[in-house]
Amino acid sequence: MNHNSRKVAAEVKNLTKEYGARGFLTQVLKGIELTVYRHDFIAIMGPSGSGKTTLLNLLSTIDKPTQGTVILDGQDITRMSNKELSALRRDKIGFIFQDYNLLDTMTLEDNIALPLSLNGVPGKDCVQQVQEKAAMFGLKEHLKKYPYQLSGGQKQRGAACRALITGPEIIFADEPTGALDSKSGRELLECLRAVNENGQATILMVTHDPFCASYAKDVYLLADGRITCRISRGADRKEFYDRIIDVQATLGGDFS
């Protein structure tokens, strides 16, 4: 598909991040350039210390860059106040964390409805939207359960539902299958792919797992603070997975 005809969801220009005191600076990201279009499903892979989590934190407004710009929904987030960033996180961004981050004080239904309710959406609409999203993620019969009554996979699918419920511009997923067994991980990824393919979500995912990355449309490989390679999926996911493994082997490094 021609990228020029699609709307940009996020744009990163010359993104640099340094840590440490003067004289002992470590440059984690070195001038990253990246454009995420609407309905993209991008996986960022890289060896440990390559800067993939830092990149996700910068894109998702949790951290601030040393240099460069991040444009989300047409606004440069590096120039926004904390309050504006909070509002942006709330309205335009969805998060899926490795450790689910569901609130143990409420049912799955309430967890999913939480962002809507806090945004002042009327109760009736909340219920309806929760039902729709839960059906998509195969969670309808688990809605009345509390997090401790759910499996890891169900919890993570619940977290994905919560991330999607407000219809964000983009979803950031940080190692979403990291705490799941392979079956649960596959179920979650199938769900994410489905919502992406039917045009309901733009996803940017950080992972070290080639299998997980093979569900994305594009995989960016990060090494030493730079994007070194981009691999795009064809029709077959298995073939895509093999290609990712090959590139990984060529580049070397510890991808755990």
Binding site: S86, L103, S117, L118, G120, G123
Partner: protein, 637 residues
């Protein structure tokens, strides 16, 4: 590094976290110190030996209540501390420390905390005695003037009692740690899993709780004669149980039902605080119930204090209706007595009436008095006109009587009307029980019945008729002189018997009531501060646990103000419900008290509940503030 050094370093670095525990323990030390200072102060000297037995009884009762309070309070606060520390120092298990070594570390830390609390408590206690005295003075000029002179004995007694209780719980904590499994130790503070309570079980508890409360309230207010004491005790047990079941059954059931209604729940931050409240209620309901009962005790105690003050004033007025009374078989003393009195003072009013004394064997009624007096309706009416006392009674039928009683400070007989009495085989219906002091002090010592004039004539042959001469003088400074002069009329011969009653307007006979009042105010302070600090401690501990949840909300992009508003709503619900249940229960407890004291205490109830409301409001604001600080600390992590 030695164990002591490690423990000391832990203590120093976590001092901020222990502050609430230290302050609450210091508070219990302060309370005990205040009581000991009160005990050894000069306040009791002014009362003399006359009321010694009352005072000793009061001290014993108060000591018992305070002892129980301290025991449970220290138990509670050390328990909260133990749970938290177990997880924190439990991590040393992975460094190869044995349970005994971790237990020793806990002991050293506990000693440091206990000692800090002891020093602070005595410090606050010494500084606070002045404040305590000021509050007492402010509340009433009636309170006994107490000279607080801090001495060694209060310090020693306080140290001994506090030290012993604290040692017991320190040892308990040590044993608990030594016996803990590694797993239980590191997961001690992480038992947050919510187990949804079954609606059926909650409903059963709700029904049972309501039944207990309603029965308790009914028994508290039920009027009776012999059964009042038993009813009151049973009511205390039932209401306590009822309050527990209310917080453990009806309130969670109600909130779970509300959370089930999504249209209600999904409204802004309501989703957060309602769920959070339900989650916490499962573990906190006992705390809310304890606080509610403590606050109920505080309101009832304050109401008792206020009511005692009122009763004290009424009783003093009652007894001083007449300055002098002569009780004689002679009917010609009016002139001579008047002459003797007028030598030294003007007479404000005087009145005479005849009185028929009956032996108890003639009368079948309560056996409290050995003798009973019968008064004629028209004579009492005449006396009331002369003395200016009110007389709100219609002419009596032949079989009707009005009982003239004394002023009770507290009576266990609350049913005082519609009683039948039998005099010499004839049944009379007691239509009213009045405490208008027609016979002044004389009315304190015997039971009197006002009967229809014809009935009086009929009963005359059954008893001994005497004449009562009553005088109220103007110049009370000449009281002693007049009393001595009137003694000339006193005689005890077979023909004539005359007795004299003199009421010294400056008597301190009732001063023990003042002491009771002082102790009531003191206990009120204890209960209200204890209740508030338990609630504060528990909710602050919850805030500490809340940090992970608040991080999730912040990550989702919601601003800290929203978290604070949700916390304020949740804390408000916890404090508000506790106050509400307490306020409703207090209506019944204070009414029961009013029945026993024959006073309407509604105003007192409102004022006491208002005071508790104000104090709870302060605790609430402090809790919200503490939440804000806790949250800011979390945010910086």
């Amino acid at each position: 590094m030695s164990m002591a050094k490690l423990a000391f370093r832990n203590f120093k670095s976590s001092l901020r976290h222990y502050l609430i525990l230290i302050l609450s323990l210091a508070f219990s030390v302060m309370i005990l110190f205040h009581f000991q200072t009160l005990l050894y102060s000069s306040g009791f000297d002014v009362l003399g030996t006359r009321n010694k037995e009352y005072i000793e009884l009061l001290i014993q009762m108060t000591s018992f209540v305070l002892g129980c309070f301290m025991f449970f309070f220290i138990w509670y606060s050390t328990n909260v501390f133990l749970t938290r520390r177990k997880r924190e120092i439990g991590i040393y298990v992975f460094m190869g420390l044995s349970n005994e070594q971790i237990g020793q570390m806990y002991l050293i830390e506990a000693i440091l905390i206990g000692a800090a609390a002891w020093a602070l408590g005595l410090g606050f206690g010494t500084l606070g005695t002045g404040l305590f005295q000021m509050i007492l003075r402010k509340l009433s000029d009636l309170a006994v003037e107490i000279q607080f002179t801090p001495g060694l004995r209060p310090v020693l007694t306080t140290t001994l009692v506090y030290g012993m209780i604290y040692l017991v719980f320190m040892a308990k904590g040590y044993i608990d740690i030594v016996r803990s499994s590694v797993l239980s130790m590191i997961s001690a503070a992480k038992q947050n899993e919510y187990v949804q309570q079954k609606q059926g079980w909650l409903a059963t508890k709700a029904v049972l709780g309501t039944a207990l409360l309603v029965t308790g309230y009914y028994l508290a207010c039920k009027e009776g004669r012999d059964s009042v004491m038993g009813n009151a005790l049973l009511a205390v047990i039932l209401v306590t149980g009822g309050v527990y079941l209310l917080f453990g059954g009806m309130i969670p059931a109600g909130f779970q039902a509300l959370a089930g209604n999504k249209r209600f729940l999904y409204r802004g931050q309501r989703i957060l605080w309602v769920n959070s409240f339900i989650f916490r209620l499962r573990r906190n309901y006992r705390t809310y119930a304890i606080v509610c009962i403590l606050m109920l005790c505080s309101v009832t105690t304050l109401a008792t204090g206020f009511a005692l003050k009122g009763r004290y004033e009424t009783i003093v007025q009652f007894e001083n209706t007449y300055t002098f009374q002569l009780l004689s078989s002679r009917d010609d003393l009016e002139g001579p007595a008047r002459e003797l009195i007028e030598e030294h003072s003007e007479i404000l009013f005087d009145a005479r009436l005849s009185l028929l004394y009956l032996d108890q064997s003639v009368l079948e009624a309560d056996a409290y008095y050995s003798r009973f007096g019968i008064l004629a309706y028209s004579q009492v009416k005449q006396l009331a006109q002369r003395t200016g006392l009110e007389f709100p009674f219609q002419e009596l039928a032949e079989d009707e009587v009005i009982k003239a009683s004394h002023q009770y400070l507290l009576s266990m007989i609350t049913a005082r009307e519609d009683v039948d009495i039998r005099i010499h085989g004839t049944t009379y219906h007691q239509i009213q029980d009045t405490s208008i002091p027609y016979l002044g002090y004389l009315q304190e010592s015997s039971g009197y019945y006002i009967v229809n004039d014809q009935a009086y004539e009929r009963l005359r042959s059954l008893g001994e008729e005497v004449y009562v001469y009553n005088y109220r003088i103007q110049d009370t400074e000449n009281f002693a002189k007049i009393r001595d002069r009137l003694d000339q009329l006193v005689e005890n011969t077979p023909e004539n018997k005359t007795a004299r009653i003199a009421m010294d307007p400056n008597s301190n006979e009732l001063d023990w009531v003042k002491m009771l009042y002082t102790i009531c105010i003191f206990l009120f302070q204890v209960f209200v501060l204890a209740g508030g600090s338990i609630m504060f401690m528990k909710l602050s501990h919850d805030t500490w646990e809340e940090r992970e949840r608040s991080q999730v909300i912040l990550k989702l992009g919601f601003d800290p103000g929203l978290l604070k508003r949700a916390a304020a709503a949740e804390l408000g619900t916890a404090y508000g419900l506790t106050f509400l249940v307490m306020a409703i229960s207090s209506v019944f407890s204070v009414r029961a008290l009013g029945n026993m004291m024959f006073t309407d205490l509604t105003a007192v109830n409102l004022v006491s509940a208002g005071v508790v409301f104000g104090i709870l409001l302060i605790w609430y604001l402090l809790s919200v503030q503490a939440y804000g600080q806790g949250y800011r600390k979390n945010e910086k992590r």
